[in-house]
Structures are given as structure tokens and as C-alpha cells.
Symmetry: C2
Subunit: 147 residues, 2 copies
DNA sequence: GTCTTGCCTGGAGCCCACTCCAACGTTCTA
DNA sequence: TAGAACGTTGGAGTGGGCTCCAGGCAAGAC
């Protein structure tokens, strides 16, 4: 892809909106470390990041969007290997469409299940917290157990 | 604590309800591996498990209850180290009451935050899945990106 | 007796997702 | 021209949460 903004190779800070970011800017923006950004690239989770004429990474807005999506997948608890799989499928083209959809649907089901699990832990926690709230510190009533 | 069921040292399977379980029975019951059960004990997450006269572990119902609670904490995503901390606090007695309560409340807040995060990933997933559902495989319309 | 099954122990090993390191290059500021 | 600040690489290290292993004991079945 031709870089339309290459006239000035602006080397430093840059308040966003320029579609040409250094690795540390992206780190600040995404909350990922520069280590992690480079690692994502090495393992194939981040496709072909553009480089400046001196070989430094220059991220574009579409890279930030991809990273945002990856961030969401990370929040779902999806394994990094599976995200790499998804990225691979995208690269491979249209015929991988069913597998990609299946991956997303499976992930969605996972998330729904995990939400339910968390809700169940919430009721246990609320029950315990309720006991603590009712019971004066001295008289430990319905307590768990440790000897 | 005196073991009221010790007359017969029943060596094998045992359908639950006897308040005297071998490690493999507990593993089956909890879904944890025997390795993990021993490991929990080593790191102080499991207090003083009773032993048979030959030195084998004999779990009681209160141990199963504790393990069930630990299982819930595990589902919350609480670190094992924090669970150990909680177990330690219980052992230390009533004066640790405020810290225990604080731990549970903090965990609860964590869970609530995680549920919100998961809900937000759900809407992203649904959006993507929607795109896949609308778009015929051939014409990949609003796709993410990988080059 | 010996075979099998189940249990014991301490310590090593494994997988995941980073995280850091050494050695070096590039560019801006003074 | 020097120094600071940022960037590059491949490979090693870290921490969490298990997981496995070797070597051995105990007890029922044949």
C-alpha cells in the first residue's frame, strides 16, 4: 500500500489522527507494552506493520483498529494461539469464512457461559459478605472452616 | 476433631455421604486432579487434611465444602495467592475479620467489572457475527483487515 | 509370594503470555 | 561532536498454575 503521508517523516510525538504512529505511541494508546507489540508481530497476531525508511515501525489507523479488536478478544479470555488462528484465516481469504464464523460463535458461547459462572460466584460472594455484615466481628457465626 | 466413622477403614470406592473420602474420590467429585489437591495442601490453600492410620489423606465433608468455595473463588479469577491469603486470615482468627471482608468485597467488585467487560466483548462479537451472517462468503464487505 | 492398584513425597518440568536483555542503529538537541 | 531518547533484533528469563516423575509403601486378589 502506498503511504500518502510520507512527505515528512515526522520522528516524534504526535497527538493521534495522523495515521502514522511509532511503537511507543501505540503502546501508550493501547496499554500494551512495546515488548508485547513486537511479540504480537513475531507470533503472527499482527500482520505486516509498515516501516519508516530507517526500518522503524509505523503503525496506521487500521493497525490500531485491529489491535482494538484483538484487545476485545483478549478480554473474552480467548487464547493467543486462537487469535493467531483467526488472523491466519483472514489472511487466507474468503474460503475460510465458515471457520472464522465458527470461531466467533464458539467464542461468543464461551463468553456467555463465563458470564453465567461469574454471576453464580457473585451470589456466593454476596452471601458471604452478607454473613460478614450481619455477624459482629467477635462471634464468627456461619464461617467457612480452616482449622 | 474426633472421627466418628473410623471403625472401618474402608479402603475403596464409596458413594459419597460417608464423610471420609480418599483423594481420588475427591478428585472425581471436584474435578480437580489429585496432583492439584496435593498441591493446594502444600501451598496452604487446603488446611490440615485428616490422615488414615497408614498416612493416606481422608477428606471430610467440610473439606469438600471448602473446596467448593475455593472453586467459586477460582471462577472469579482470583489469584491462588490471594485465596491462600484468605485461608491464612481465617486461620488467624477473628481479628482478621475486616481484611477478609475487604478481600471479598474487592473480589466482588472485580467480578462486576469483568462481567461488564465481557458484556462489551459480547456486543463486538455480535456485531462481527452479524456481518458474517449478512455478507455472502464471496463478497467480504466490512472485514477487519489482515494484509 | 507377586501382581495390581492406589497412595505417599519432594522436586522437576510444562505451558502460557508476556517481559527483559545485550548489543547496536538512528535522529534530535545543544 | 556528544549525549539523550528512541528504535531495532533474537533469544533468554519470569510468574502463575498446574502437571508429572521417580522411588517407595500398603493392602487386596490370585
Amino acid at each position: 500500500m502506498v503511504d500518502l503521508c510520507a512527505s515528512v517523516d515526522r520522528p516524534f510525538p504526535q497527538p493521534t489522527g495522523q495515521d502514522r504512529y511509532t511503537i511507543s505511541e501505540v503502546a501508550r494508546h493501547t496499554g500494551l507494552s512495546v515488548h508485547t507489540l513486537r511479540w504480537y508481530e513475531r507470533i503472527g497476531l499482527m500482520p505486516h506493520v509498515d516501516r519508516s525508511h530507517t526500518g522503524q515501525r509505523r503503525y496506521h489507523n487500521h493497525d490500531l483498529e485491529w489491535l482494538a479488536f484483538v484487545g476485545k478478544l483478549r478480554l473474552t479470555g480467548m487464547a493467543v494461539a486462537d487469535m493467531v488462528r483467526y488472523a491466519d484465516l483472514l489472511r487466507e481469504g474468503d474460503h475460510t469464512y465458515p471457520e472464522r464464523l465458527a470461531l466467533l460463535v464458539a467464542t461468543r458461547e464461551d463468553v456467555v457461559r463465563r458470564v453465567a459462572e461469574l454471576q453464580s460466584t457473585l451470589s456466593v460472594l454476596d452471601f458471604k459478605i452478607g454473613i460478614y455484615a450481619e455477624t459482629p466481628p467477635a462471634a464468627s457465626g456461619g464461617e467457612e472452616l480452616p482449622a
